[in-house]
Symmetry: D3
């Protein structure tokens, strides 16, 4: 299977984990998902590979995906995660979950100061909605 | 209030955001939460401050905490987050959520290869359970 | 037990899955839950039985309920789910989770155009609040 | 509308909050939901009314339901919630969310000691599966 | 912008909702997400377009994504969703969330009968792991 | 280890469950988490110990933390939880999850009557933002 071959050659390993095997009967989804993983996690970017994996583990833990916590913690270790970094990652995941719950339970309104930094003008090109002539 | 003063001097800013004000009537919780934030997010560690904020934003988005997404995206920008890094963070949060959902919907069993890297022996000191004499 | 008998006769099967057995000690909850399932999932309505199960599986996956993903995927298969339909269901669950996460991470404001279609006037009968004389 | 009348007389108040109005176009769901609320939250039981509301607020916060956090915090106040009790409720919601996230991120296996207390034999009446003769 | 043009021509409408505008600064993510939406939601498949939207709304509600609940409820209405179908969708989302919570709170073990139907042999092509010769 | 000793003496039991062992390699997190548990769950307060555990179980179920559902259900039993109280707890967790999902799926706006009771003036001491002179 072409995707499996690409997984193996990209990772330089014969091991194809069950996640990908489980998608084998759904070729379009397999193709699309692997292609996204390559673009987002493997192509060089502004974040280094280990940082990307830390973010992936954090999201997987918050989403309570046992499979993904396991596979991406393993991936992070393979990319050099130290015990100290792991301890700090876990501590942040726990603390953020706590303050998330506090903010939600108290229904704290967003400070106007934060609204601004969230959405830079360029991201919502309102001008685009007007002069198009198609 | 002592905690508010510490927030201001630690951050070198007069601005105390609503999250902390909302805890003002619950002094023990306010004290404990701020103390944790200082230890986890501000004390120097193995992860740099910006990486910590990226993880915080990722967890907050996965937990759907609007307040925390706003406040920690602002904090990340204040620590130098570039548009390109932000774009990559968002892409990972989205992609991880997708593969989390796929793994969950398909109930994919964890590969034995991953079990090992998740729990290093040292983390579960079983020997401790035996020889204690207290 | 009356509810177990009704489950068996309604489903034309002697098999009573563990979910219902686990509620056996809580008769009111068992009765209420089964009665709701019958009304919502079994009584003929505007959605066909298979479509109902697809929605049930989708919610269960998003809520990360392993038991319910298993039991309702089995129910969907029993109602004729094909491999192709299953593949599309899984793909939608994954994609929706991704765009959910993106919209949340970016804190995208709801378009005014969507507000309207969400809440048809009839659903909030404000007039009702005025002239009641009870 | 009969259900609205029952809500008013049960609560001894003319106020019918938007949640119920929003279900007005779906009579079966309105009827079923109100009937469940009456059975679970209003009928006397082993837990007192305030404790029930605390649990309801806790679940609503963990599920991130802004409407329900608001409405059930109001209900708890109406049932006598003190500021001190509220502070403790919030603290537990936050702390539980933190340890939930830690246990999930670390994928900690359940102690065998806990398995037992979770599922008392009576709750899974296995004997029922054998001798039924219906 | 090419993607915006494709959105407009595919939907035969000048309206481009904010979700897509919010991704305008992240071209790779915009391109990838729209391409996935087209493949999954628009290309003809085994599920009809309205059923797909029902599943999308269900996942978005379970994931508590306000934006996506709004936009996909609107999309479902545009594809012919009737009030009766909507009422049934809402009822299933509510009921599934209840039984999800019950199964989770009670930690009900999956019936062996369900394990089988979840993972058909073909989906995990174990044979593939052996004879590859790359 | 000092924290383990304190766990044992506080609980008057030699048993230290895996959650704490799993944090053994992360002393600061172990210390901080146990200290929080003592303050929130063990120190006498306005809520009795059993009520606190009920809230903890409710949050853990809503957050889908299998470990914490198990450990805190066991803790609640140790503190005297009766079968009838447990049945009511489970029923509330299920019902709240249903109405949470309904309110979210219908995007019901918060009644102005509830806004008030959520945020008592004292909790947001606005006056504090003005006259500080540090």
């Amino acid at each position: 299977m072409a995707v499996f071959d690409d997984i193996r050659s990209t990772r330089r390993s014969d091991f194809v984990n069950t996640f990908w095997r489980a998608l084998a009967n759904q070729p379009a989804l397999l193709e699309r998902t692997w292609s996204s993983i390559k673009q987002v996690m493997i192509e060089p970017g502004a974040l280094d590979p280990l940082t990307k994996e830390l973010i992936y583990v954090a999201v997987s833990a918050a989403n309570n995906c046992s499979y993904c916590v396991h596979s991406h913690t393993a991936a992070a270790r393979a990319k050099g995660l130290t015990e100290q970094q792991y301890a700090e990652l876990i501590a942040i995941v726990g603390l953020a979950s706590q303050t998330n719950a506090l903010a939600t339970a108290l229904q704290i309104p967003v400070d106007p100061e934060f609204e601004m930094s969230q959405v830079p003008p360029a991201r919502f090109p309102i001008s685009d909605s007007a002069p198009r002539g198609e």
